[in-house]
């Protein structure tokens, strides 16, 4: 038996060009399948871990998905701001336990800058109700002080006490606030959420940055140096969004109505749990379609393998007759062909897995910047292993076809095939 299998491997090696093409086709299909599954799972995980214990996310009226994206993920942009007065009306509502204002719009070398209050560092929860911790330093106090997330530090190599400047807008190409540098006073411990990729400053800092700006550009001829900003009133007039926690979670419907019907300006209040659920339902259809298409591609690859093996059977009739003459039975011939198909499938799946690892390393930064999704290069999880198992099983079934054909041929040909 092992003699036959060893010969099968050597025989396959002698046909490595055609089998190699099949192997590559299967590998690419498996990579596609696993990538779709991994992005799906990782995106869900990411979204889920980023916010915890928040009853309402409040912003200017618009799309609820958009609001979640910029308020929680610091990705995308808000269409409008909300006034500071509206925020105070909500924050002081008797049903509200706590509220955190958020101001977004600036960036630093691709990372988002968040303007908020020092209470943010005590109040904010993520994952399973975990609080933020400082790895070094403390929260911001003065106007030009900044707290960095762990990934900002890791990628840009900053340390406590360093001085950095921020850019207006979300890209490096926008005008910069070069005349008002910030000092790093705190570094947060890693959370695995967008917090890691964010720089945190006070709301006053955002106001100070835009004191001598109008309409997204600096006023020509007006230059207020950082030492003098405190002479001006730095209280914020607008913020981008707010996170709200209630005394009774059951009051969320009434609070949501209060926000949505607020007379001061058009506002939107979103329940994160419900928004995420709706997001998954919508995305779920797309996800399932993608997964189905990927599965189809895998089937195509395996069918191609079976076709290649079948097509090659004719040339191998002599080879099979020789093996029969040496003492191989038709059952062993069947096993030989099936094993060949299975071997190519397994190698293809493994190659696909390797390609996934390499590819995710390359694509991760782009995905992060565009969609705020972290694609980790890691060992395959349970769902991925299950998918690989399914691919191999299907490959086995597909290989049974040439195996069976070879078995029948072998019986008919005997020792002297009529070529």
């Amino acid at each position: 038996m092992t003699a036959v299998l060893r010969l099968a491997a050597l025989s396959a090696w002698s046909r490595r060009l055609t089998l190699g093409l099949s192997l590559i086709a299967i590998a690419l299909a498996v990579t596609l399948l696993l990538a779709v599954e991994r992005i799906r799972g990782d995106a869900r995980q990411n979204f889920a871990q980023s916010v915890s214990g928040v009853d309402l996310v409040v912003g200017a009226r618009g799309g609820s998905v958009q609001l979640m994206l910029y308020a929680v993920f610091h990705a995308g942009a808000a269409s409008n701001n909300i006034s500071w007065d509206s925020y105070r009306a909500i924050a002081t509502h008797p049903a509200v336990d706590w509220a955190l204002p958020l101001s977004l719009g600036d960036s630093h070398r691709g990372f988002a800058v968040l303007g908020t209050v020092p209470e943010y560092f005590q109040r904010f929860r993520h994952g399973d109700g975990e609080a933020l911790r400082f790895r070094e330093g403390r929260a911001f106090g003065g106007v030009f002080e900044v707290v960095l997330g762990s990934e900002v530090v890791q990628r840009l190599g900053y340390r406590l006490g360093d001085s950095i400047t921020l850019s207006h807008g979300m890209s490096e190409l926008g005008p910069a606030h070069g005349d008002k540098p910030f000092r790093v006073v705190g570094i947060l411990a890693a959370t695995g959420t967008p917090v890691d990729r964010t720089l945190h400053v006070g709301l006053e800092a955002i106001s100070a940055l835009h004191l001598d700006w109008v309409g997204g550009a600096p006023l020509p001829g007006v230059n207020i140096p950082s030492e003098l900003v405190t002479k001006f009133d730095l209280k914020p007039k607008e913020i981008t969004a707010a996170l709200v926690g209630l005394k009774q979670r059951g009051d969320v419907f009434r609070m949501q109505r209060f926000v949505n019907q607020y007379r001061g300006e058009p506002l939107l209040g979103v329940m994160p749990g419900v928004a995420l659920d709706e997001l998954w339902q919508t995305i779920g259809i797309v996800e399932r379609s993608l997964l189905a298409v990927s599965a189809l591609v895998v089937l195509v690859g395996l069918a191609g393998l079976a076709a290649t093996l079948l097509a090659g059977l004719n040339e191998r009739r002599r080879e099979l007759a020789i093996l029969r003459a040496l003492g191989a039975g038709p059952g062993e011939i069947f096993l030989m062909l099936t094993a060949e198909g299975l071997l190519v499938t397994i190698l293809g799946a493994l190659l696909g897995l390797l390609l996934l690892g390499a590819g995710s390393g390359l694509a991760a930064p782009w995905l992060l910047e565009r969609f705020g999704v972290v694609l980790a290069t890691r060992l395959p999880g349970n769902e991925e292993l299950a998918l690989i198992g399914a691919v191999i099983l299907t490959g086995l079934v597909a290989s049974l076809v040439p195996g069976w054909r070879a078995w029948r041929r072998s019986l008919a040909d005997g020792l002297t095939p009529r070529l």
């Binding site: 003699a3 010969l7 050597l10 025989s11 090696w13 002698s14 002599r318 080879e319 020789i322 029969r324 003459a325 040496l326 003492g327 191989a328 039975g329 038709p330 059952g331 019986l411 005997g414 020792l415 002297t416």
Partner: protein
């Protein structure tokens, strides 16, 4: 004990209406060198398949070395073939992607008995046989597909004989060789089978080669099915 005894054999292919083999009696002694004359259409391939145990007759018995292989199951017949019979075909005897040496050793991986009878190291025995058959050492490790036809046939002969099987069945082994080489090859076969003491069944349509054999059997004389067709 006769090497081969066929009794009342009737064989018909599954989709055919009429049998292609109908042999009442055929007996070959052990160690005999037999020329089996079989033109095409005489049922030669069918007979070889039956002797090899890859097909079963509808009626009759085939006793090889005293064992009626028609009574054996499929796996047992395969094993019998591996252990007691060496085959030599007209061409394409060898796996082209294996070296000449690996081809010769093949039967020893399929049969424990032949491995034992090949001595302590089948590879050494294979080298000895190839040297004996005038195949230079530089050819041993080449892929068999790169050898000339004449060289391939000699390697095939070595493979058929390694481990001293009791029966060697050669089906038109010289038909692909040049006329000058044919005689030399037949002499080689006769010599080598004598050395191992095997029974040689040499099947060919070419009557002119019959001269050197102890016994000549005409298949279309003993096969009644073939006679009915020509009659």
């Amino acid at each position: 004990m006769a090497a081969l005894r066929i009794t009342d054999l009737v064989f018909r292919w599954p989709r055919q209406a009429r049998p292609c083999l109908d042999i009442t009696h055929l007996e070959l002694a052990a160690g005999a060198r037999v020329f089996l004359h079989g033109p095409s259409g005489s049922g030669k391939s069918s007979l070889l398949g039956l002797l090899g145990g890859v097909a079963l007759p509808q009626r009759g018995a085939i006793e090889l070395l005293g064992t009626d292989i028609t009574r054996l199951g499929g796996r047992a017949r395969d094993r019998f073939r591996a252990e007691h019979i060496g085959f030599l075909f007209q061409q394409f005897n060898l796996l082209p992607w294996l070296s000449a040496l690996d081809n010769v050793v093949l039967p020893c991986t399929f049969s424990a008995r032949r491995r034992e009878r090949a001595g302590s190291s089948p590879r050494n025995e294979a080298e000895r046989m190839l040297r004996h058959l005038d195949l230079g050492e530089e050819l041993w490790r080449k892929p068999a597909g790169e050898l000339s036809v004449g060289q391939q046939q000699r390697v095939a002969a070595a493979r058929a004989l390694i481990g001293r099987p009791e029966i060697l069945i050669a089906d038109e082994p010289t038909s692909a060789l040049d006329a000058e080489r044919q005689q030399a090859f037949i002499d080689l076969l006769l010599q080598e089978t004598a050395v191992v003491g095997a029974t040689l069944v040499f099947v060919s349509h070419d009557q002119r080669l019959a001269g050197h054999f102890d016994r000549v059997v005409a298949l279309d004389e003993i096969n009644r099915a073939a006679q009915e067709v020509t009659a």
